[in-house]
Assembly symmetry: C2
Homo-oligomer: 71 residues x 2
Amino acid sequence: MKEENEELILHNRLKVVRAEKNLTQGNLAALVGVSRQTIGSIETGQFNPTAKLALLLCIALDKTFEELFYF
Amino acid sequence: MKEENEELILHNRLKVVRAEKNLTQGNLAALVGVSRQTIGSIETGQFNPTAKLALLLCIALDKTFEELFYF
DNA sequence: TCTAAATGCAAAGTATACTTGACAAAATTT
DNA sequence: AAATTTTGTCAAGTATACTTTGCATTTAGA
């Protein structure tokens, strides 16, 4: 990834949407098949999920990608 | 990623959409700031982009995530 | 208020996304 | 048909997504 887009940060509304569904990080993690820490790290912006995991999260939370992720 | 979703493959319509816009892999790569090989590997399903790159591709190709990526 | 559940964070390891360079094959252009 | 562009793929290296374990802090429930 070149400089121009390197600084761009992908934000997400995971924490809010997850809370609306009354799911814990552990619950959501189990739904999509990753560890609790992975969910936590995505929520706190420590990392940038794969597109596959992002789409699994959209499905689990019944949202479009654009509703959950944005620049 | 656990067994249940491990086998799931994220497909995409990158090659077709890119061709519709008359872009080469190199053109598109430059637009989003990655190497030509990265675009090629995503098109041939060899790998699964990050959500950030996926969204950059959506913007470059003027498509929603769901129009470009699917299970 | 006491207890239990949920979250944040860190370290060390593994898997894989992404890089550069290179070459051959296929497609496009002249 | 010859030249040029585009694509597929391979190899070796780097960056980072994701794992597990563990512990401290915060939040929620009894």
